[in-house]
C-alpha cells in the first residue's frame, strides 16, 4: 500500500538504537545517552509525521504492510495503524523520550557507582529502554496474533531487567512478581488464541473480528473443541476469560492488580513513567483493538457484562480508596493509575451492548470509545509527568517520598509546586486541563449504556479529589518543614522539561479536537463494525 515500510522502520529504529548504545559500551557513556536521546527523538519525529500523514478522514487502517510468513499456518507479517494505532505510537514515542531524557536525573540507586558518578548511566539501561520501545511499537501496530504476541512478550523482558537491575530496595521481588504475573496472563491469552486458531485456522485480528461479528466464532469453537462436554456458551466464556486475563492483568482490572503498586513503586522513576505511561495502555489497547471486536459476542452476554462492569466499577472506586489509604507518593500514584484506567475499562465494557438495547447507542458508544482513547493519551501524559515530579522530590530529599515527610514546600519552591500542582489537577480531571474531556466522554457514553455502573464509578472522581487535595495539603501547604529549608526550586533545565508536558495538558484540555480529530473516524468505524 505504502511504498515506504514506515512502521517496520519505526519498529526497527529503537532496536538499532539499542544495539548502537550497547556497542558504544561503558567507555562512551555520554555518547550512549546521546544516541538514546537521538533515537528516541527520531522515533518521535517519525511518529508525529505518521500522525500528520495519517488519513484521519477515512478512519481506516493506513501504512499497511503485509507479507506472507508461514503460509502453512496462515501466519503473515501484517502491520498497520489507524487513528488508535497512530495515537498510541505518538504516546509511546513521547513518553519514551521523556523517560530517556529524565533518566539523566535519577541515578541515585544505581549500584554501578561509576555510572552514578558520571551522570549518564549505563548503556545497557538505555538499550533496554529502546528495546522496550521497539516492543511497544510492534504491539501497537501488529495485526496478526503471531507476531503481535511476540512483541507483547518482548516488551516484558526489557521491563523486567530494568526493574530488576535499577529498581529500589525491594526490586527483586517486585520484578519477579511483575514478570510472573504478566506472564501468567499472557499464557492464558496465548492458550485462548491457540484455541481460536485450532478452531478457525486464523491468527489475523481483522478476520477473527469478522468471524466474531458474524457470530461464527463461538460456534466454530464448539464444533472443533467439544471440550469436556462444555456447552457452547461455557466454552465461549472460558476462551474469552483466558484472553481477558491477559489484558486484565496488564491494565490492570481488579482483582488482578496486586502486582502493580509494588512494581511501580520499586521501578526506577523513568521506568515507572514508561510502565504507567505506555505499558498499561497495552492492556487497554488490547481491550479496544482485540477483545472488543473479536469477543464482543461474548462480552454482551448479560452475565458476563454485569460481572465485567462490576469489576470495572470496583476497580475505579476501590483503587481510589486504596490510594487514599497510602502514605507513599509513588504508591498513591500507582493506585491512582489503576483508578484512571478503570474508567477506560468501564467504558469498554459499557460499549459491549446490543445495538437494539438503547435507542441510538452509536453516539454513546462512540463517545465512550473516544473517551477511552483520549483518556489513554491523557493519562499517559499526566501520570508520566507526575511520576517524574515524584522522582524529583525523591532526589531532592534523598529518597523520601512519604506523605508526612514534607510540608509547606510552596514557600521555598513555588515554581515546583505550581507546575506539579497543575499536573495534579490534570489528574484530578479539572476542566481546562487534559483529563476532563476524556472522563466526560466516558461518562457521557457509559451512563447511557450502563447507568448504575457509571453512577457508582463517579465516586471514584470524588475520592480522587480527596486524596489529591490531601497530598497538596500535606506536601505543599501548611508550615514549612524546617528540614527542607534549603529545598531547591526547579532548575532551568527542569523547567524546560516540565513545560512541554504541561503545555500539552493545557492544549489538550482546551482543544481536544487535536486528538479526537485523528481518532474519531476510526472509532466511528469500530462502532459501525460492532454488529453484535
Amino acid at each position: 500500500m505504502n511504498e515506504l515500510p514506515i512502521i517496520t522502520i519505526l519498529t526497527l529504529l529503537p532496536l538499532a538504537g539499542g544495539v548502537i548504545a550497547l556497542a558504544l559500551g561503558r567507555n562512551n557513556r555520554a555518547w550512549a545517552r546521546h544516541a538514546a536521546i537521538g533515537f528516541g527523538g527520531l522515533a518521535l519525529v517519525i511518529a508525529v509525521g505518521m500522525w500528520l500523514g495519517y488519513d484521519a478522514a477515512s478512519g481506516e487502517l493506513g501504512f499497511e504492510e503485509r507479507h506472507a510468513w508461514v503460509p502453512s499456518l496462515n501466519i503473515e507479517y501484517r502491520v498497520a495503524a489507524d487513528g488508535l494505532g497512530v495515537l498510541m505510537l505518538v504516546l509511546t514515542a513521547l513518553v519514551t523520550l521523556m523517560a530517556i531524557v529524565a533518566s539523566g536525573d535519577f541515578w541515585k540507586r544505581v549500584e554501578d557507582t561509576a555510572a552514578a558518578g558520571s551522570g549518564y548511566g549505563s548503556p545497557l539501561y538505555y538499550a533496554l529502554i529502546l528495546f522496550l520501545q521497539a516492543g511497544l511499537f510492534g504491539t501497537f501496530t501488529a495485526l496478526n496474533f503471531f507476531h503481535w504476541f511476540i512483541f507483547w512478550e518482548l516488551s516484558l523482558v526489557p521491563a523486567f531487567f530494568l526493574i530488576r537491575l535499577w529498581g529500589g530496595f525491594q526490586r527483586s521481588e517486585a520484578a519477579t512478581q511483575f514478570f510472573v504475573y504478566t506472564m501468567v496472563g499472557s499464557i492464558a491469552l496465548l492458550l485462548s488464541f491457540l484455541a481460536l486458531f485450532l478452531s478457525t485456522g486464523e491468527f489475523d485480528f481483522t478476520r477473527l473480528a469478522e468471524l466474531g461479528r458474524k457470530g461464527e466464532l463461538i460456534p466454530a469453537l464448539a464444533a472443533k473443541l467439544g471440550w469436556f462436554d462444555l456447552t457452547t456458551q461455557q466454552l465461549g466464556a472460558l476462551i474469552f476469560c483466558g484472553a481477558l486475563l491477559g489484558f486484565a492483568v496488564k491494565v490492570p482490572l481488579l482483582p488482578f492488580h496486586t502486582w502493580l503498586p509494588a512494581t511501580y513503586t520499586e521501578a526506577p522513576t523513568p521506568v515507572t513513567m514508561l510502565l504507567t505511561g505506555v505499558m498499561s495502555k497495552m492492556g487497554v489497547y488490547g481491550f479496544v483493538r482485540i477483545l472488543l471486536p473479536i469477543f464482543g459476542g461474548v462480552m454482551h452476554w448479560q452475565t458476563v457484562r454485569t460481572i465485567l462492569l462490576g469489576l470495572a466499577a470496583a476497580t475505579v472506586v476501590f483503587s481510589a480508596c486504596a490510594a487514599f489509604a497510602q502514605k507513599d507518593l509513588k504508591r498513591i500514584l500507582a493506585y491512582s493509575s489503576i483508578n484512571h484506567l478503570g474508567y477506560c475499562l468501564l467504558a469498554v465494557f459499557a460499549v459491549a451492548t446490543y445495538q437494539a438495547d438503547v435507542q441510538a447507542p452509536a453516539v454513546e458508544k462512540a463517545s465512550a470509545l473516544n473517551g477511552v482513547l483520549l483518556q489513554m493519551f491523557n493519562h499517559g501524559l499526566t501520570a508520566a509527568t507526575l511520576f517524574w515530579f515524584v522522582g524529583l522530590i525523591e532526589k531532592r530529599s534523598g529518597g523520601l517520598r512519604g506523605l508526612e515527610d514534607f510540608g509547606g514546600l510552596r514557600k521555598i519552591a513555588p515554581v515546583f509546586c505550581g507546575l506539579m500542582g497543575i499536573a495534579w489537577f490534570s489528574s484530578l480531571g479539572l476542566p481546562g486541563l487534559n483529563g476532563f474531556v476524556g472522563e466526560f466522554l466516558i461518562f457521557r457514553g457509559a451512563f447511557a449504556l450502563a447507568p448504575w455502573a457509571a453512577a457508582f464509578s463517579v465516586l471514584g472522581l470524588l475520592v480522587t479529589a480527596i486524596f489529591i487535595l490531601t497530598i497538596l495539603q500535606r506536601v505543599f501547604n501548611g508550615p514549612l518543614n524546617e528540614k527542607w529549608s534549603a529545598w531547591p526550586d526547579l532548575t532551568v533545565r527542569e523547567r524546560v522539561f516540565a513545560a512541554i508536558p504541561i503545555a500539552l495538558m493545557f492544549v489538550l484540555g482546551v482543544y481536544p479536537q487535536l486528538v479526537l480529530g485523528v481518532v474519531n473516524e476510526t472509532v466511528v468505524g469500530m462502532v459501525e463494525r460492532m454488529g453484535f
Partner: protein, 697 residues
Amino acid sequence: MTPWIVKNLWLIPALPALAAGVSALLPRRQRTLSAGLAIGSVGISLLLALCAFANALGQPVEAKQYFNFAWFEFAAGDAGVLKLGWVLDPLTAVMLVMVTFVGLLIFIYSVGYMAHDENFTRFFTFLSLFAGAMLGVVIANSLLLLFICWELVGLTSYLLIGFWYHKPSAAAAAKKAFITTRIGDVALLLGMVWLYSETGTLLFYDNGGGCLEQNALAALVTRATSLGMTVSTAIALLIFTGAVGKSGQVPLHVWLPDAMEGPTPVSALIHAATMVAAGVFLVARTFPIFGSTVESLVADGAAPVSGALQVVTWIGAITAVFAASIAVAQNDIKRILAYSTVSQLGYMMMGLGVGGVAVGMFHLITHAFFKALLFMGAGSVIHGCHEEQDIRRMGGLRKYMPVTFATYAIGMLALAGFPLFFSGFWSKDEILHAAHGWPASHIPFYLGMIGAFLTAFYMTRQVAAVFFGSYRGGTHHGEKARESEAHGGHAPHESPAVMTWPLIVLAVCAIGLSVIGTPWWPWFQEFLGKHHEAGEGGGVVGLMLFSSVIVFLGLGVGWWLYGRRPWQRADEPDALEVARGDIFSLLRNKYYIDEIYELTVIRFNAWWARVCDLLDRWLWGGVVQLVSYAVVGLSWVNRMFDEYVVNLGFDQGCKRLTLGGKMFSRLQSGQAQTYLRIIGAGLVVLVILLIRGSRGG
C-alpha cells in the same frame, strides 16, 4: 444578524482570564502591573457588560440571543458534534453587570487590603482567573461550558481560601471547601450526562433544539425513571445537588464558614457576592427543567408544584432558618456574616422554589451588593483593629471608623430587611410574599419569617458589639492583643480611601436598588420575565406590615439584649448565654454538624480506605498468590506425572523427584527463571490437554 456584543460576549470572561494568564507569568515584584491588569480587564469587562445590558434592554422579554460553535467531534454525524456557546438574555445581562461591578469594586479595595502581602501579584492572578471563570458561568449557553467554568470557579475558590497556605487552618479549609463542593459537582456531572443522553444536547438554547426548549422538556417530563419520578425531576435534583454544594445549602453548608480563612476581599467577592450565588444562578438558568411538569407543558392545565421545586423550596427554607440561628451565637465577625450568607442563599433558593426566577434572582442581586458591602466593611474593621476578628474584642468603633460605621449600618439594615428604604427589604419581602401564596405548603413562609427575625437579631447583636459601647481590644491581655501592640497600633483607625470609597459606592447601591423591584414598579421582575402575580395589592401591604413588625421585633430584641448595656470586657459571657446556656452552646457549636460529619462521613471514608487497602494487601493479593501457587503446583504435578509415570524409569524418577523437591523449596526464592521453567512446562501440558480435548470431542 447577530449583534456585535452577542457575537463577542466571550470577551467579557476572556479579558480577566487573559489578565490572569499574563499575570501568572509576571515576576513577584510586578505588583502594580498585575493589579493594573486585573482592574483594567475587569473595568473593560464592566463596560462590555453594560453594552450587553443595554442590548438586552432593547430586546423583547424572553428573547434569547445566543452564539454556538463546535468544540469537538466525538461520534458520527451531527449528534456527535459537541457544541458550546454563550447566551445573552436578561438573566445573563443582570448577572454580568453585577459580577463585573462588584468585582471591580472589590479589586480596587484589594489594592488597599492586600498592600502588605508579599504574594500580592499571585493574589491578583487568582482574582482575575476567578472573575474570568465566574463570568464564564454567567454567559454559558451550554451546561457543559457552565460546568467547566463552575469547576474553575471552584479551583480559584480553593486557591484563594488557601491563599495563606502556611496556616494549617487555611490549608484545611481550602481542602474542605473543594471536596464538599466536589460532592455536589459529581452529582451535577451525573445530571449533566443524563441530560445529555436524554436530550442529545447540552446547549440551553439552540433554535428549538436546546435542552431548555419545548421539545426537550416535553420529552423529559413524560419519561419516567425506574425510581418512580420523572426524568426531569431526577435530573433537576442532581443539578440541584451541585447547587447545594456550591451555594452552601444544608447539608453541604459546612465548607462556607470555614472558607472565611481566606483574605476578606475573597470572602466578599467569592463567598458572599458571586460564586456562592452561582448555585442559585444555576437553578435559575436551568429553571425550565425544575419547573416543568406534564401538566404545565403537555396537558396545559393548572399545574401543581413540581417535585423538584418542592425540594428546592424546602432545602432553602430549612437552610435559611438553620444558618441564621447559628449566626446568633458566633463571635467571629466574618463567620457571622458567613452564616448569614448561607441563610440568605437559602432565601434565594426558597424564592426560586416558590416564586420563580425573578424572585430568587432579585434577592441574589440585592444580596450581592449589601453582603459585599458588609464583608468589605468587616475587612475594614479587621484591618483597623489590627487583624482582630473577634467581636468581643472590638466595640465603640463608631467613633474611630465613621465611614465604615455608616456604610456598615446601611448594609446591616439592608440585610435585616429594614422597611422601605433598603433593597433587602423589597427582595426579601418578595420571597415571603411568594411563599405566602405557595400552594404546596405554608411552612416555608413561617420558616422565612423566623429567619427574618433571627437575621435582624444577629445583625443587631453584631453591630452593637462592634460599633457601640467602648473599645475592648486594647485592654485584653490575650495573645492577639499583645501581637497587635507589638505591631505598634493601639487604637483602631479608619481605613484608607482606596478601601472606603468602594464601601460608599456599595452603600449607595444597597439603598438605590430598592427602586427597581417594588410591587408598584416591578421593573426587575418584568425584565426577567414572568412576573409572579400571587396576591392582591392589599395582601402585599398587609404582608409588608407583618414582616416589618417581625424585623422591628428582631432589631428590638437584639438591641435590648446587646445594645442597651454593651459588653464591658471581652471575656464577659454572652447575654443569650446567661439566659439559655444550653441552647446557646448548641448554636455556638453549629449544632455539632462538623463533629457529626467528622464522626460519620470522614471516619467512614478513612475506614473504608483502610479496608480497601487491607483487601488489596491480603484478600486480592492473597487469593492471587494462592491461585498462582495452585497453578504452579498443578502444572508441576502434571509434569511430574507425565515424565515420572509415563516416560521415565524409576531411578530417573527419583532423581527428578529430588530435583523437583528442591525446585519446590526454591519456589519462593523469587527467581524468575524458575517460575518461567515451571510455567513453560505447565503451558506444554495445557496445550497437550487442549489438543487431546479437541480430538476427544
